[in-house]
């Protein structure tokens, strides 16, 4: 399903989006695939599937460890891309590939986008692909129908927001606070102001991410006018407690905990939205 179709569907259902971010093959292939299925079954709307990098500079401690574990399991970009084909057999929710620039650069940007498209992906997030460095990504993305997702932060100026929104498609990844990925209790105070500012420039959906794990944060984000939330490290934080010697122990219990967490967030988003109407 295309990203745009997903948002139309959600809009018709008066729902907001829930995107979940995981790094593939952390700590191994079997668990990773079951984790993805569990999350899809529990109601995520969009999957953000990460290809690990040795130096993930936009990630905090939880995802740094996730990248390390995945790389130790021998993950290659090709494996992650093939895994999308498997996911496609299971579900039609939008899949967005996320990785660092050098992975795509080394693979060849044109070939990378072509291959993820053929595997069934719908979008691409590269945290260091600021709009100035994204000509080839945008051109190839357009050709193959891969949405290039851009990040906007609390300090991005009007000029920058305009430049970004003029080129963006799919949705915008709004970072709720300055910093890296990772669970934080509070929310950037700038979130509401940032959302209002961006809405002046675009009708694209706005998903808010970085540091989100609490129902209270989800509520504030939705009430501030966002079209959905992105949760990543909070999920990795749950299963990392079940990792011993690079293997998941008590897998069923672990997946059950994740199922509950995802369903809870899904319900929270739903309830907040209905309360507001």
């Amino acid at each position: 399903m295309k990203i745009e179709e997903k948002f139309t569907e959600l809009k018709n259902k008066k729902q907001k989006a829930f995107m979940a971010h995981v790094y593939y093959k952390d700590p191994d292939k079997d668990f990773s695939e079951e984790l993805i299925k569990t999350m899809i079954d529990s109601g995520i709307d969009i999957l953000e599937l990460g290809i690990p990098h040795s130096d993930p500079t936009s990630d905090g401690p939880t995802f740094i460890k996730a990248c390390e574990r995945s790389l130790r399991a021998g993950t290659t970009p090709k494996q992650v891309i093939s895994s999308i084909k498997k996911i496609r057999k299971y579900s039609d929710i939008p899949v967005i590939v996320t990785t660092y620039f050098n992975i795509a650069y080394r693979y060849g940007i044109y070939k990378f986008i072509k291959d993820i498209k053929h595997a069934g992906a719908d979008g691409l997030i590269i945290p260091e692909a600021v709009v100035e460095e994204s000509d080839e990504l945008l051109k190839t993305g357009k050709k193959y129908g891969i949405d290039i997702i851009f990040i906007i932060g609390p300090y991005s100026s009007g000029i920058r927001i305009k430049k970004i929104t003029d080129n963006a498609s799919g949705f915008l990844y709004v970072v709720s606070r300055t910093g890296v990925t990772g669970v934080k209790k509070d929310l950037g105070i700038e979130t509401s102001a940032t959302i209002i500012k961006i809405k002046k420039y675009t009708d694209l959906p706005l998903l808010v991410g970085f540091g989100i794990s609490q129902p209270e944060q989800v509520k504030k984000i939705i009430q501030a006018g966002a079209d959905g939330v992105i949760i990543g490290s909070a999920i990795a934080k749950i299963y990392e407690n079940y990792i011993e010697n690079r293997k998941i122990i008590n897998k069923e219990e672990c997946l059950d905990e994740i199922r509950k967490f995802v369903k809870k967030i899904r319900e929270d988003i739903k309830n907040i939205f209905y309360q507001k109407k």
Partner: protein, 404 residues
């Protein structure tokens, strides 16, 4: 001063050929735009330039000497001059950049400085700037480097800087830079990131080069005075490449002067244990820029290795990457073994103990001297002094130091 929400956008070319650029999180772009604006302003600001010049002279001790190394020259059979950046306050060329960017941070009204360091020379330059300009300073340093550069750790602490040990990845310079980027992105409003080399996103490669180019400008003046001509060779070691860009920049247009960058070959270029990004790497995106890089076929960054912490970095400056492709600068490498021999030779012939980083350039001078005559003129950038390395080098030289 609050420059955010303003009208900044990059005004300068962010690239050298295809290299360089701003491959960073969007969250850092406003800060890079603000930094570029301040950098452009500082170049035209007479007060800033006057203050910088005064500090370089009175505080840091510029100009540094261009010393004719008589004994070494006799031994090697050509005329060798040493640019004595090792005599600069702080013990290395890093002070030029520390003072320059420290002043910039002050003019920008920043209240906190962060910096990465490998050998601790840049960390010390940043700590020095923090103390001098009275700005709170935190230094990120890999735990492996903390172990091998203890003296500099203590020097930084004495200047009041806080050391943040980094125990990620290879626990060296690249990981310290990654942690700096993470810190900066979280504290971008008030924090100045004092990057130590000519790598990283625009405008750093230009800023650091401009604060270091005084080295080459002085060399040009000094050698013309002493020899009435330009040198045949200029040699500099290359990790990130700030001392090399610093001494090369004034000679880029002097096509007759051969510019040679010496990378760390570690245990040999055919092993996995080296840090020769240009000699053995390929272009890739790392630490905010496109440059030569040690990486695997999937684009994961390889760990570098060098006996000298300051050269132990898998990337290299973007302008140097460009100068390699355009063939204006030739890149070669010296092994740990050759470096230690050079370290020792300079100490024994001239009574000068070079930093292990700078000893790489001396090692290459020894190598090329075999084909040269008394007429040939070599300038080596002696970018730092070796006090910090004495313990480490003695250990590496092992029993050999007692044999002779």
């Amino acid at each position: 001063m609050n420059l955010y929400g303003g009208k900044f956008k990059m005004r300068l070319n962010t690239k050298f050929g295809k290299y360089g650029g701003t491959y960073v999180s969007e969250l850092l772009m406003p800060a890079l735009e603000e930094l570029e604006a301040a950098y452009i302003r500082s170049k035209k600001d007479r007060k800033f330039q006057r203050e910088l010049k005064m500090l370089l002279k009175e505080y840091a001790g510029r100009p540094t000497r261009l010393y004719f190394a008589k004994n070494l020259s006799e031994k090697l059979g050509c005329r060798i001059y040493l640019k004595r950046e090792d005599l600069l306050h702080g013990g290395a060329h890093k002070t030029n950049n520390g003072i320059g960017q420290g002043l910039l941070a002050k003019y920008m009204g920043k209240t906190r400085i962060i910096a990465e360091t490998g050998a601790g020379q840049h960390g010390f330059a940043a700590a020095m700037a923090g103390a001098f300009f009275d700005i709170k300073t935190e230094i990120y340093m890999g735990t492996k480097d903390i172990e091998r550069q203890k003296m500099n750790v203590n020097r930084m602490k004495l200047c009041g800087a806080k050391i943040n040990p980094v125990s990620l990845g290879s626990c060296t310079l690249k990981d310290a830079i990654s942690e700096c980027l993470r810190d900066w992105v979280a504290n971008v409003k008030h924090t100045y990131y004092l990057l130590g080399t000519v790598a990283g996103p625009h405008p750093y490669p230009s800023i650091v080069r401009d604060f270091q180019k005084v080295i080459g400008e002085e060399v040009k003046e000094q050698i013309l005075k002493k020899e009435k001509r330009l040198p045949d060779y200029i040699l500099a070691c290359v990790g990130g490449g700030s001392n090399a860009m610093g001494i090369f920049n004034a000679f880029l247009k002097e096509k007759k002067v051969k510019l040679i960058g010496v990378e760390p070959a570690g245990r040999g270029l055919n092993t996995k244990f080296h840090g020769a990004a240009i000699c053995k790497g390929s272009p890739g995106i790392f630490d905010g820029a496109l440059s030569y890089l040690l990486q695997d076929k999937h684009g994961q960054i390889n760990e570098s290795y060098s006996i000298s912490a300051g050269l132990d970095y898998p990337g290299v400056g973007s302008q140097l990457s460009f100068l390699h492709d355009s063939k204006r600068v030739r890149f070669t490498a010296a092994t740990d073994k050759e470096t230690l021999a050079a370290f020792r030779l300079l100490a024994e012939t001239e009574g000068i103990i070079p930093a292990l980083e700078s000893a790489h350039a001396v090692a290459y001078a020894i190598k090329i001297s075999k084909g040269l005559t008394k007429e040939n003129l070599i300038v080596i950038n002696l970018s730092g002094r070796g006090d910090k390395d004495v313990f480490h080098a003695m250990k590496a030289l092992g029993g050999k130091s007692d044999e002779n």
